[in-house]
């Protein structure tokens, strides 16, 4: 039941870019580098202000450090919560697995449903994270974002309306789903998951 706080906080804040994780960077900076998925020279130079200029020859340690810094700087707190919850689930699942290996898995049903609950909740949370984070298009200006959200609304409407045609897909990525819708889906999935687990636990 530890999922509640993380999940609810995810739902309350509507725009991920509204709060800044670190004070050093400016607002324009982060919003542009929010999800710099392409090696865009401009955005990368902006975002990697702390671990400057990652060359292709730098060692694995530097790369890891760069990733970490990038992550810490550019993740909105809401996503942080989700990530923390996911890490918590990984730990829980790992502990259960370790227990099963060390002390035997005698109530196999119980072990299985506990483990499955952890794994299932993990993937559901990961899905929620994807849906909420990816909403910002690359290098988003305010107008582009507005257009995207309009497209998302249209897509959602279309889906709810008439069986949904192929048009829900915008520029190859995920179709835009509003974070409220994503969260409702998440709750629905979690309910089913835990219903099955409780039924299965014996």
């Amino acid at each position: 039941m530890a999922k509640k706080p993380a999940a609810s906080s995810a739902s309350t804040s509507s725009r991920p870019s509204s709060k800044q994780p670190s004070s050093s960077t400016t607002t324009t900076n982060t919003s542009s580098a929010q999800s710099a998925s392409k090696p865009n020279p401009a955005s990368s130079s902006l975002s990697s202000s702390s671990s400057n200029s990652l060359s292709s020859k730098s060692g694995p340690q530097a790369i890891a450090l760069h990733i970490w810094n990038d992550y810490v700087q550019n993740t909105p707190p809401r996503t942080f919560l989700l990530d923390a919850f996911m890490a918590f689930l990984v730990v829980i699942g790992g502990l259960q697995f370790l227990y099963a290996i060390l002390f035997g898995n005698y109530p196999f049903n119980a072990f299985l449903s506990g483990f499955c609950a952890a794994v299932g909740q993990f993937v559901l949370t990961a899905s929620l994270r994807m849906q909420t984070v990816e909403k910002l298009p690359k290098g988003a200006s305010a107008e582009a974002r507005k257009a995207a959200s309009a497209a998302a609304a249209a897509a959602v409407k279309r889906n709810e309306g008439s069986g949904g045609e192929a048009g829900a897909e915008v520029d190859g990525g995920a179709p835009r789903v509003s974070s409220e819708r994503a969260f409702a889906d998440y709750v629905f999935g979690s309910l089913i998951l835990h219903g099955f687990c409780v039924n299965f636990i014996n």
Binding site: A126, G163, P175, F188, I192
Partner: protein, 751 residues
């Protein structure tokens, strides 16, 4: 209708009219699908068909009578006589629960319908739903609304599906195909939208499917294969991740709720591809996540190298686990899917089932007719516009074509995709040739008059839509338009004719009740099965054990309500082999077996008088083979063939054959029907030996009107302690001549 569509073709109609038309067409299709399956009821009566449905029917009655929980814990001591069967834990409960729920809902609405009628009509009702699900699935594949309607119409009347869903065919497939199609629809929806909701719904219906049919493994492997292919094509996206992981996490848990499946999803190799793909998707997702944060090509390649290496390691680990036996090996039925000779050699019990035989080529045309040659065209169309969902169609098409070629019964899984693909192809043709670009209302009207069923209506629906979309490209000559349209319509009409003919002639026989034509053309109903089972019900004690070949176990349990030794569940090969041994051995050997299993009556099916070819002598070879699998020393298949390798029952039959219990029971007293020396077996069209076989351990109890079913009572031990052969001989007045031979049976007395 015509007026509406004319108005509609002029482009004045609104969207709602089109929606209304579509609904009407769909309802008509569903109604057609239901009514096409009612031949059996009209010809015969509302009766459960064949073999397995009788068990399902019996289980449903139990469920309705005793409630859900006792059904769940049902231990059935009236089958597999000495052993019993944990029925509640060894069946797929979906079908029974479905009809139980329908039964209770109807009662709640104060519509008390007999449970038998619900069971009989369940399959047609669900086939109507399948047509709707088909419409939804195909509509996801194509922008043209006609494709969905065509596919629904095809699905409704394709003989490949009707074969398993006529009224009275109360089998798992009846609801499973609907669930299959609907699960695929939800899956496509999930992968298009990338939403947890659709993935969870797909998982729910997958769970329902698991509870309904063993064929769920098809879905379990097809969806991961789809995902794997998409990843290999470089089409990984968050949509893919969301839909697949949701489906897998929830679906696996859902499938484990069914007691019969239990821990299989994490133990058996059949399910490992899904698990492996799940792991792969996680890795790829993580890699993508990292990649989005790191520039530098080198790192990417490094990362993908790592992913690949991990995948290889995982595969190796899987192989290792399989070898060490932690994960159960593939089940026999699946080996036989890849090596068609496997079953024949290793598991005769699987090979002996006729629906597990490889499909004959004509069967494809027989079951799918025109669809089978539209099928490749439709698959090609998918290649032209290769989106994620089209990849699914292609994969499904390839896999199921192969499987349908291997096993007759898997034609059932091929049919949906054939309907989808051919509807895509046909709707494209109609789109092109019926487009009303120029105001050629005449050609439209002409075609509209000729066409029938849903096809024409749907075609016209599509035509106007197309015309609005791309008014430039198209065929402008009304001649070519009308010719092509007319030809297509003619083909469709032929298809409808074929389907109706096949349904009425091939698939609507209950096989419990047979019918034939008298020389004057009148219908002659052969009701021997029910006659004999009713005799058993009326004239034998409630717990009299009946031994028969396993084919008839369910029917005896369902219709005669008597305990049986073996039935169609075939869970215990040894027990079946024991029955096979009793049938194929000499009387002296069989008698101890019969005694040990408390057998009171033995039932055989004999078609020699009527020419009914599905009788026990024709199945005898399988009994011998299965018995030989367990007792290779005592039963030898070779002994039943003549020196020239022929399987004969006449004068030249081998001694082993003529002394086997099955032969004796089949032909006992058969001579008395004919003038001396004229006895004729009409199935094997051979003349029988002049002197009929003698039975000493059994006595004839009942023979049905057309001799199809013969029931024998097992004699008790002799009062004076003689063996049966000498007792019979004594009664015939032979004195003690043959007793001196003293063949084995004295040993019997020790028990």
């Amino acid at each position: 209708m015509m007026a509406t569509s004319n108005h509609f073709l002029q482009g004045n109609s609104s969207k709602s009219v089109r929606g209304l038309l579509r609904t009407i067409i769909l309802l008509t299709i569903a109604a057609a699908a239901v009514s096409a399956r009612l031949f059996a009821i009209i010809r015969f009566e509302s009766v459960i068909h064949e073999f397995d449905p009788w068990f399902n029917f019996r289980a449903t009655k139990y469920l309705v009578k005793h409630g859900f929980y006792s059904f769940w814990d049902w231990f059935d001591d009236r089958t597999w006589h000495p052993l019993g069967r944990v029925t509640g834990g060894t069946l797929y409960p979906g079908l029974m629960v479905t009809s139980g729920v329908i039964y209770h809902i109807l009662r709640l609405l104060s519509l008390p319908v007999d449970i038998r009628n619900i069971c009989v009509l369940l399959a047609p009702a669900f086939s109507g739903l399948t047509a709707l699900a088909m419409y939804l699935l195909t509509s996801e594949m194509s922008a043209s609304p006609s494709a969905g309607l065509l596919a629904a119409a095809f699905m409704g009347i394709a003989p490949g599906y009707i074969s398993r869903s006529v009224a009275g065919s109360y089998d798992n497939e009846a609801i499973a195909i609907f669930l299959l199609v609907f699960t695929f629809f939800l899956w496509i929806k999930a992968i298009k939208n990338g939403s947890i909701l659709w993935g969870a719904l797909a998982a729910l219906f997958y769970g329902y499917m698991v509870s309904a049919w063993g064929g769920y493994v098809f879905i379990t492997n097809l969806i991961p294969l789809h995902v794997f292919t998409l990843i290999c094509m470089g089409r990984f996206s968050s949509r893919l991740y969301i839909s697949y992981t949701t489906w897998f996490a929830l679906g696996t848990l859902a499938s484990m709720q069914v007691p019969f499946v239990g821990f299989l999803p994490i133990r058996s190799s059949d399910h490992m591809s899904a698990l492996g793909t799940f792991g792969l998707v996680q890795l790829v997702a993580f890699a993508e996540f990292l990649r989005s944060r790191v520039p530098g090509k080198q790192f990417q390649t490094l990362l993908f190298g790592a992913v690949l290496a991990l995948f290889v390691v995982a595969c190796l680990g899987l192989v290792l686990l399989s070898i060490t036996g932690i994960i159960a090996p593939w089940s026999g039925r699946f080996y036989s899917l890849f090596d068609t000779e496997y079953a024949k050699i290793h598991i005769p019990i699987i090979a002996s089932v006729s629906e597990h035989q490889p499909t004959a080529w004509p069967a494809f045309f027989f079951d799918l007719n025109l669809l089978i040659w539209l099928f490749p065209a439709g698959v090609y169309m998918c290649f032209r516009n290769l989106k994620d969902e089209h990849v699914f169609v292609v994969i499904y098409a390839v896999m199921s074509s192969y499987f349908a070629g291997v096993m007759v019964r898997l034609m059932l899984t091929l049919t949906p995709i054939v309907c989808v693909a051919s509807a895509l192809a046909l709707s494209h043709i109609l789109d092109t040739y019926m487009a009303a670009d120029m105001p050629t209302a005449s050609s439209q009207n002409g075609s509209g008059d000729v066409s029938s069923k849903g096809a024409s209506k749907s075609a016209s629906t599509m035509a106007s839509l197309r015309s609005m979309r791309n008014p430039l490209v198209g065929i402008y000559s009304s001649v070519s338009k009308s010719v092509v349209t007319a030809t297509t319509t003619a083909y469709l009409l032929l298809f409808v004719l074929h389907c109706t003919w096949v349904t009425s002639n091939a698939y609507s026989s209950p096989s419990v009740v047979l019918s034939s034509r008298m020389p004057d053309g009148s219908q002659y109903i052969i009701d021997d099965y029910r006659e004999a089972y009713y005799w058993l019900r009326q004239n034998t004690p409630q717990d009299a054990k009946i031994m028969s070949w396993w084919d008839y176990g369910y029917q005896i349990g369902g219709m005669a309500d008597r305990p049986t030794l073996v039935d169609n569940n075939t869970w215990n090969n040894t027990h079946i082999a024991t029955v096979g041994k009793a049938m194929s051995s000499r009387e002296e050997v069989s008698y101890p077996i019969l005694r040990q299993h408390d057998v009171d009556y033995v039932l055989v099916v004999f078609g020699g008088l009527l020419g009914y070819s599905g009788d026990d002598i024709n199945k005898f070879l399988w009994m011998i083979r299965i018995a030989e699998g367990i007792w290779p020393d005592e039963v030898k298949e070779r002994d039943f063939f003549t020196k020239r390798g022929e399987y004969r029952v006449d004068d030249e039959a081998t001694t082993t054959m003529r002394e086997s219990l099955m032969y004796k029971m089949s032909y006992y007293n058969f001579n008395s029907l004919f003038p001396a020396g004229q006895a004729q077996d009409r199935v094997r069209s051979s003349r029988l030996p002049a002197e009929g076989p003698q039975l000493s351990i059994l006595e004839e109890a009942y023979t049905s009107e057309n001799w199809i079913i013969r029931i024998y009572k097992v004699k008790d031990l002799d009062n004076v302690g003689r063996d049966h052969a000498s007792a019979v001989a004594f009664e015939k007045g032979h004195k003690k001549k043959r007793a001196a031979k003293g063949r084995g049976p004295r040993v019997l007395r020790t028990e």
